[in-house]
């Protein structure tokens, strides 16, 4: 190292911060993040491995499984990318965003600005300076003046607060991240399946939930194949008892119930349990699940025989959405069942058994169809971080509006004396590049030129169509 030269080596720490705070770094991470997210969107996630071979060609399925693309969004690389982005955002905020927000009022070489112009004034020096100040104020700028080296300087700002936009947006992200972390750490959720008349518990919250009644409403829809029925309303009338809660709300889709402990109960799904009364030689036989708990493909073994009942589905007014298009809806709820004897179906088509009707199974057994029992699927959830996430979302949106929609402008105007009279040199700078303000700057300068020709007491009612 030669005498007089000073080479300052930056430490690894500073170099790392330089990389993290360089705007190209998050852009690079964005590109990878977008690509991974696209993969996770296009490839089915979290399904059994064998199902990939059914849905995709074998080589593609092999690649998906070997590259572990079955659970992209909860994989370590994906989470690491998001954390890296948050880290870069934090470093950038403290190294670039906060320090460089407000340009100072200083006498700068106007000619060095990308947007600059000079206009002669026909007014005297002081009147010219006052006119420039007044002109900037009338156009919505906040103005400060200084005399430096005999020149009058006018420093003007517009929408200065918009310079906080990036900072506000970054803070919003951070708040959302905090809320999501709190929810992940201390929150919980689960699913409940409650049959009408049944009571279930939510152990984490100490709640008991009883289903008094489930109502499903369906509307007819005309299609080319005929009428189908589409669900239009699901309602669960429940009784919820727990710490600080004793209520009998109606829970509908989009209308969850919130307990005193901030546990949400949502309407998620529904169904109807098949209900059969099995008798043998005239005497009722107790079998598990047949009384209102039958689900599609449930199998009931009849004791002492090699006969089996396989429950198919229920068609009818209680749940007309199950009826295929063009198939007339039965007037009464009807069960579709298969009977097997020695593993051979006893009929060529499923047995349609209307509610109230009986059927001789054989070997002394009969089955009678009873009205189906509705069940409601409720989701419960507790998220202590939701307030943080909500606040962060608002802050983020505000930051975006400030940063992207509004443009902070700083004007420098220098009034100097020349032999021909006062001359005003004007320059403007924005955070979004000169091209963004070019047209408005031209209009501003032209308006100022008119002002410097006009009498000082006059006003020019020119409205500037500035950026925002």
């Amino acid at each position: 190292m030669s005498a007089g030269s000073a080479v300052r080596e930056r430490s690894l720490y500073d170099q790392t911060l330089d990389v993290l705070s360089n705007v190209m770094f998050p852009v690079f991470v964005f590109a990878i993040w977008a690509a991974l997210t696209l993969v996770g969107t296009s490839v089915d996630q979290n399904i059994p491995p064998e199902q990939y071979y059914q849905e995709y060609p074998a080589p593609m399925a092999n690649a998906i499984l070997r590259l572990h693309l079955t659970n992209v969004f909860h994989s370590w690389p994906y989470i690491a990318l998001v954390l890296l982005l948050l880290l870069s955002m934090s470093v950038c905020t403290f190294r670039r965003v906060i320090p460089k927000r407000f340009p100072k009022d200083r006498a700068l070489p106007i000619e060095n600005f990308g947007l600059h112009a000079a206009r002669e004034s026909s007014l005297d020096f002081d009147t010219t300076a006052d006119a420039v100040e007044d002109y900037a104020r009338r156009r919505g700028f906040s103005v400060r003046t200084q005399t430096i080296d005999g020149n009058r300087w006018v420093f003007a700002d517009k929408q200065k607060w918009a310079r906080y936009g990036v900072l506000v947006a970054h803070v919003g992200f951070a708040v959302i991240a905090v809320g999501a972390f709190i929810g992940w750490l201390w929150g919980y959720r689960g699913e409940l399946q409650i049959y009408q008349g049944q009571t279930v518990s939510v152990p984490q919250a100490g709640l008991l939930v009883s289903l008094s009644r489930f109502i499903g409403r369906f509307e007819p829809v005309q299609t080319k194949a005929g009428t189908v029925y589409q669900a239009s309303r699901f309602q669960s009338d429940v009784h919820v008892i727990g710490p600080g809660t004793d209520a009998q709300p109606s829970i509908l889709v989009n209308h969850p119930f919130i307990t005193a402990g901030s546990v949400y109960l949502y309407q998620a799904s529904y169904g109807y349990g098949g209900n059969l009364q099995i008798s043998r030689n005239g005497k009722p036989v107790t079998l598990p699940d047949v009384n209102g708990r039958l689900s599609p493909q449930d199998v009931v073994l009849l004791p002492g025989t090699s006969r089996v009942i396989e429950y198919g589905t229920m068609l009818g007014p209680s749940d007309p959405s199950q009826a295929p298009a063009g198939v007339p809806l039965p007037k009464a709820d009807t069960y579709a069942l298969w009977l097997f004897h020695d593993q051979i179906p006893t009929t060529q088509r499923p047995i349609l058994l209307p509610v109230g009707a009986s059927y001789d199974i054989g070997d002394g057994y009969t089955m009678k169809a009873l009205p189906p029992v509705a069940w409601s699927g409720l989701t419960y959830r507790f998220d202590p971080g939701e307030g943080w996430v909500g606040a962060g979302a608002l802050i983020l949106t505000a930051g975006f509006v400030m940063a992207l929609f509004f443009m902070p402008i700083k004007l420098y105007a220098r009034v100097r004396r020349t032999d021909a009279g006062p001359v005003v040199d004007v320059a403007a700078t924005t955070t979004k590049g000169n091209a963004m303000y070019e047209d408005d700057f031209e209009a501003l300068v032209n308006g100022l030129a008119d002002r410097l020709r006009a009498p000082a007491s006059g006003t020019i009612g020119e409205t500037v169509n500035a950026y925002a």
Binding site: V27, T41, S232, F400, L404, A435, E438
Partner: protein
């Protein structure tokens, strides 16, 4: 939802057909009017006068009125918002594109982009026709006030991105032409354009003469940034509103549903765009391509996710 469409009403099919025909007639009128608007606006490229712009605005406005009537009739007959399916939502995107373009056109003076913008919008509208399935009741998960806010905000963002993409495409054409002028004249673009020598046109294909109607590429970049910024703000708000709705409806802000993750891809790409635009060396060609790629991801999230990939937002 009217009970007239039940299977017990022998007149149900005819009634449904009559209602559908009523809103489709206004719909088809809008398709024609937007096409005429696009062709009329294109007159500005060749004649450089305000007459084609004024006429184009008239036709575009008539198209907006026709489409609004179509959506209004659909709303009236179905008893719920018309953007509950792919047909309705595509129609709304097209409507918002027309409306937003008229606003941006007046605000940012981008009328030169009208032919392409209305052509793209009309293509969406014409394509949507194939997805018209008549009138259906609103499924329980969509029965919420959030449908009045979340869906239109997101669709408005798609409309803004469509216009931004058009501006970016025009930027690339104009930039290539400016570079051609510089190479041909061996001087700066400003000096070359100001000389307007006939020799400079020799190397340009005749069908690209309309490029003279466009402002400088730097102005196109500015216009694209402004429009895409509005889109990114709307998309951010739309995703947040969707998360709030999901919280109320499904019990979770974010379920990694394909539609949600596809919207996240859109958001990431445009976030990269606005970050890149802070660097002068990245403004221009690079940001134009990012804008075009961004809109490609919007098309993916709209069509591929809604039609091909199953999920909570699927129309499959």
């Amino acid at each position: 939802m009217p009970s007239d469409y039940t299977q017990y009403n022998t007149n149900a099919a005819a009634l449904m057909d009559a209602h559908v025909a009523a809103y489709m007639s206004w719909y088809e009128a809008a398709v024609v009017l937007y096409l005429i608007a696009a062709l009329v606006f294109a007159g500005y490229w060749f004649f450089r006068s305000w007459t084609p712009i004024a006429a184009g605005i008239v036709f575009a406005s008539l198209g907006i009125i026709a489409q609004t009537i179509s959506l209004g009739l659909r709303w009236h007959y179905s008893g719920h918002v018309p953007w509950n399916d792919l047909f309705g939502s595509l129609s709304v995107v097209s409507l918002f594109t027309a409306v937003l373009f008229l606003i941006f056109g007046a605000r940012y003076r981008i009328w030169f982009a009208a032919p392409l913008a209305f052509l793209f919008s009309d293509a969406l509208l014409a394509y949507a026709k194939g997805w018209n399935k008549g009138l259906e009741p609103l499924v329980p998960s969509l029965q919420s006030s959030w449908i009045y806010i979340h869906v239109p905000v997101v669709l408005a963002s798609y409309a803004a991105f469509l216009i931004g993409c058009v501006l970016s495409i025009l930027y690339l054409f104009k930039k290539a032409d400016e570079d051609r002028i510089v190479r041909a004249a061996g001087q700066s673009v400003g000096a070359a354009v100001s000389t307007q020598t006939a020799d400079l046109d020799i190397a340009r294909p005749r069908w690209l003469a309309w490029l003279d109607a466009l402002p400088a590429s730097s102005k196109l970049d500015v216009a694209a940034y402004r429009v895409n910024s509005v889109g990114e703000i709307l998309l951010t708000a739309g995703i947040i509103l969707g998360a709030l709705w999901a919280h109320v409806s499904w019990g979770s802000y974010w379920q990694w549903d394909p539609k949600e993750t596809a919207a996240l891809v859109n958001w990431i790409v445009y976030a990269a765009y606005v970050h890149l635009h802070t660097k002068p060396s990245m403004r221009g060609t690079i940001t134009a391509w990012v804008s075009i790629i961004g809109f490609a991801t919007v098309l993916f999230s709209y069509f591929a996710v809604n039609i091909v990939i199953s999920g909570l937002h699927s129309y499959k």
